[in-house]
Symmetry: D2
Subunit: 302 residues, 4 copies
C-alpha cells in the first residue's frame, strides 16, 4: 500500500495532498498540522469529494504514530507571509528552523523508515536541519530545491520561443532562493545549446534569468503564495520514488564538497537519491554554485 504523510497543511501541503489523491497515488494519507481545525476542514473537503472520484484514500489526521510505516513523508510547514513580505525565503528561517527541530524529532520518534522530501523554505537550509534532527542518511532525505526553478526556466525559455517547456533541458542550480542561477551552459532547446540562440540574438539570457528568479514573487504578489507548480514538482518526485524510475532531475541533495544540501542534478528512485550526477560547469558557473552554497550555510548559521 502507498502510505504518505504530509506535515504542514498550508496552501502547498493541501495542494500536494489534492494532486496525490486525484492521481490515486496515496492509499493512506496522514495529514498533520498545528491547526487542528484546518486539518479537520481538509479531511472533510477531501472526503466529501470521494463520492465523485474514481480514486480515494484512507485519511488520517494529526497522528505522528501513523508515520511509522509510511513510505514517504513530505514536509511543507512554514510561514509564507514572511517570504511574501520580504521577497526572501530566508525570512522563514527562524520559524522553520524551530519547526524542523520539532517535526524532525517527532518523525524520528515515530520510527519512520521511508523517504523524506522537504518543501519548507528556505528549502536547502531546512533539509540540513531536518537531516540533523532525524539522523536520516542523506540518500533518504532531500528537498525539492531548484526542481521548481528549473520548471520555471523551462517555461520561460519555451514561452519565449513559442514551444513546450518539455523541449527545454538544463537546470537552475544552487539555493532555492535568491543566490540561485540558471546554469545556461547546461540549457538546450530542441537539443541545441541555448547559447547558439543567444549568439544569434534570438534571446537575451540575462533578461530571462532575472525573469525566472522573479517568477515566484510575481505569483506571490498576485495570490499571496505559490502552490500549484511547487506541489506538482513534489508529486513528480513521489512518482519517481514509487515507480523506482531512476529519473534525472535537479533537487536539493547533499553535496559533500560544500557540506550542505543544495540544488544539483541527481537520479531519483525508490531509495531516494540513487546517485548524484556530477556536471561539468564553466568556471563562472562553478563559482556561482560555490557562492550559493556559502550563502545557504552562512544564512542558516546566522
Amino acid at each position: 500500500m502507498h502510505k504518505i504523510g504530509i506535515i504542514g497543511l498550508g496552501h502547498v501541503g493541501t495542494t500536494v495532498a489534492h494532486i496525490l489523491l486525484l492521481k490515486g497515488l496515496a492509499d493512506e494519507l496522514v495529514m498533520i498540522d498545528q491547526d487542528e481545525g484546518k486539518v479537520e476542514a481538509e479531511y472533510y473537503d477531501f472526503a466529501d469529494s470521494f463520492a465523485r472520484t474514481e480514486t480515494s484514500a484512507v485519511l488520517k489526521c494529526n497522528d505522528y504514530g501513523e508515520l511509522a510505516d509510511a513510505d514517504i513523508v513530505i514536509t511543507s510547514f512554514g510561514d509564507i507571509e514572511a517570504t511574501a513580505r520580504t521577497g526572501d525565503r530566508f525570512a522563514e528561517l527562524p520559524i522553520n528552523k524551530k519547526n524542523a527541530a520539532e517535526v524532525g524529532q517527532k518523525i524520528k520518534a515515530s520510527g519512520f523508515k521511508g523517504i523524506l522530501l522537504n518543501i519548507s523554505n528556505p528549502c536547502d537550509a531546512i533539509v540540513n536541519e531536518l537531516q540533523k534532527a532525524t539522523g536520516m542518511p542523506h540518500q533518504r532525505i532531500f528537498g525539492t530545491g531548484t526542481f521548481l526553478d528549473t520548471a520555471r526556466l523551462q517555461r520561460a525559455v519555451g514561452a519565449h520561443f513559442g514551444e513546450a517547456p518539455q523541449n527545454v533541458s538544463g537546470f537552475v542550480l544552487g539555493e532555492h532562493g535568491n543566490s540561485q542561477f540558471s546554469a545556461w551552459s547546461t540549457v538546450r532547446l530542441d537539443g541545441q545549446p541555448i547559447s547558439q540562440f543567444a549568439d544569434a540574438g534570438q534571446v537575451d539570457l540575462a533578461k530571462l534569468d532575472e525573469e525566472i528568479r522573479q517568477s515566484a514573487f510575481r505569483v506571490v504578489a498576485g495570490k499571496g503564495y505559490t502552490s500549484t507548480a511547487i506541489a506538482t514538482c513534489a508529486v513528480r518526485i513521489v512518482e519517481a520514488i514509487f515507480n523506482d524510475k531512476h529519473e534525472f532531475m535537479p533537487a536539493s541533495v547533499y553535496l559533500e564538497q560544500f557540506g550542505t544540501y543544495i540544488g544539483y542534478p541527481a537520479v531519483i528512485g525508490k531509495n531516494g537519491v540513487e546517485k548524484i550526477v556530477p556536471v561539468k560547469l564553466p568556471a563562472a558557473e562553478a563559482e556561482k554554485l560555490a557562492a550559493s552554497a556559502k550563502t545557504i550555510k552562512e544564512k542558516e548559521d546566522a
Copy 2:
C-alpha cells in the same frame, strides 16, 4: 478542441481550473476575474507546472471575447467571507446578484453558445439571475446545486456504515442552502432502503441529516471556505457534458412548476440538461421541496 471559461478565480474557481488541467479536460482555458493580479498569478503558477505534467493547455486571461467559441463556461464568482460570517449562502446574494447581471451581460455579448454551469452562491438564485441576464434556454444553463450536498450525504451515510460513498444512492433536494433536505425516501445503501437500517436502529437519520447540512460550515470554519469537493462535483459535470454521458445526478435545474432553479434529479449530456427525471416523493418530502422552492424565490426577490 475543449475550450472552457471560468469566471471568478477564488478558491473554488482556481481548484476547478486545477482539476481540469490535471485531468487534461481543457485544451484552452479562459480565466476571468476582477482581480487582474490574481489571474496573472494563477496563470504563471499553472504555466510553471506544465514542465512537470503530461497534459497542458493554452491559457487565456481576462478576455470575455474568448468565450465566443467556448464549449462550457463555469461561473464561480462570489464573496465567501459573507457566507462564512453568517452561515447562510444568501448573505452573498446582494453582491452576486449584481455580479450575475454584469457577468451574464458580458457572456451574452461575447456570443457564447455553449453550456453554462453555475457554482456561485446562493446557487439556485444566481442561476435564475444568470439565465435572465443571458437569455439562454433553461436546458443549456444550470447549477451544481445539491450535487455537492448529495456527495456529503453519500459520505456521511457511507462513513456511518464503514462503506464507500459510492455504495449510497439517493439525493439531497431543494436549495443548495439552509432549506435543503435529505430525501431519505430515495436513499439506499447497498441497494437497500435506508429506512430499513433506520428501522433496525442502525442509524439515526435526523442526526445524519443535520450533520450533512452542517458539513459545509464545518469546512468553512476550519479553512475559511470550501473548495475541493465542490470543484470535484463541477468537473464531474463537465465530463458528463463533454462525453455526452447522459448521467443521472441531482443539479440545480429549472422546474416549471416552481418557476425557479432548484436541486432536483436530471440527466446531463452534451446539451446540458437532457431531461429532468420526475421523482415520486412522499407528501412530507414533497412539501419540503415546495417550501425550499418558495424560500429561494422569496429570498431572491427580497
Copy 3:
C-alpha cells in the same frame, strides 16, 4: 509499494497489465506465462512505451518467487478458443482445473500473503480449485464473477433508454456462465425499479436478459476473445483493494450455504471480501441462484 502478479498473459492478462500500468497502479509487475517468448514480447512492448508515459513500473518475468511479497495476484490463464468454439466457458474446465492445481501450488510455495483475484474461466469453479490448491482463507481469494455481466446489464439497460450505464444499479447473479441470471428485482434505472418501466411497456426484460447473456459471445464471434471490459472490471477491483474502498459490487465470493464460489454482492476492501451482503430475492430468483450454484458444483465435479 504496489506489487502485482499476473499469471496468464493472454489477451485478458495483457490488457489487465496495460491498464494497471497506464493508471500507475503497479510499481512492480510480475508477469508469468508458460509461453516465455510471449512474456518477453510483452515486457519489451511495455518497456518501450515507458519513454512516452508519465507512469512506469519495474517489470519482472516468469518468477514465482517474486510473488512472496506481492500485494495482489491476478489469475488469467486459460484457453479462450475452447470457450469460443463451444459457447460454454466450462469447455475450459479440464485444462484450467489442471492449471489451477499447478498455479495454486506454485503460489502457495512462493509464500504469497496478499489477495488473489481470479478471472480464469469457468470463473467460479476455478476459484474453488485455486482456493483448495492454495489453502487461502475465502476472504482473501475471490473472482471477478458476474461483475462483468453486471456491467453488461448496466450497458444494455442504459443503452435501451439512451442513458449512462452508471444510471443503472442491480446485478446479474450466479455463475459467470450460462446459468447466470439478471436479478431484475434488484435492478433500478435512475433510482426507479426497472419493473416499473417494464410494466409500462417501455422495455422487454426477457429480451434484454438474453442479450446480456449473449453479449460475451457476440464479442468473441467478432474478435475471438473478450478483453477490454473484463480487464477493466478486474482493475476496478484492484483499486478497491488498494484504496481500501469498501466498495459494494457483485463478485464471485464463497457462499457457505451453497459450498461454492458464485456471483453475489459483496463489499471489497484491503482484506479482499470485507463482507458478503445478503440480498432478499423473490422465490423465482432465489431458485435460479440455487440452481446456478448446483450447476457450478456439478460441472466442476463431473
Copy 4:
C-alpha cells in the same frame, strides 16, 4: 468536443482506441475496419467497460461520413503478418499502397478537415501515398515514423545504465524500417553526450544500435505483432495536437530536400507539424539520412 477516427482496428488501432478512451481523450470515436464483425466486437467490448470507467465516449462504427467534423484521423490499417514473416515492413507495401489509395479517397470524400496521423507500414511510404490520395497539405498529415524507434533507443540506453528512458534525449532518424539509424551525435544521457560514455568504454553503441533496430522483431517474434508502445506513441501525438503543445519530437514529416516523408525532428501542435527543426548532423549521419530517404522512395516506387 474531441472527435477522433481510427481506420484499421487491428491490434494497433484497437490499442490506440483503448488508450484514448482510458485517458478520456475522445468524446466521439469513429472506428472503421473492413471486418465489420471486428468493429462490432470492439464496440461492445468498449461499451461494456463504460459502466466501470470514469470516462466514456460516443462510439460510431464504420461510417466515413462521420469523419467530416473529426479533429484527428489515425490510420492503422495493414497486414502485420507480412511484416512478421519477412522482417521487413515493406512487405506490407503492396497491400497498404492499395489501402492508402482507397482509404485516402474516402477520407477526402468525407470532407475531413482535421489532422491525419498515419501509423500504417511502411510508415513513411504510406504517408506519401495518403498525402497524394487526400491532397492534404503536408503540415496536416504526418506519421509516427521514428518516434517509436526513438522510444526504443531511450529504453535501451536507459536500461544499459540503469536509468529512466526520460533521461535520454536524441533520435533515431530516417525510415521507420531497416534503413533507419540511431543519430548518436544527438544522443545524450543525463545531459551528457553519449559519445563521452562510449569513449570511456561504458557502452558499445554499435551493439545498442543493432538491438534497437531489432527491438520490434523481438516483440513480433513473441506475440505476432507490436501494439502497446506504438499505440502509446500515437496517443502522445494526439495529446500534443489537442493541447497545442508545440512539443519537439521525431516523426515522419515531409522533407522538401528529399521529396519524401521521413523520420526527422519536428514541433507538433494543433495544426499538426508546426515546424520542422533542422538538425546539424556529422557527414556520416547525414549520408545515412539521405540513403534512408532514397530507400523509402525507391522501394515505394518499385
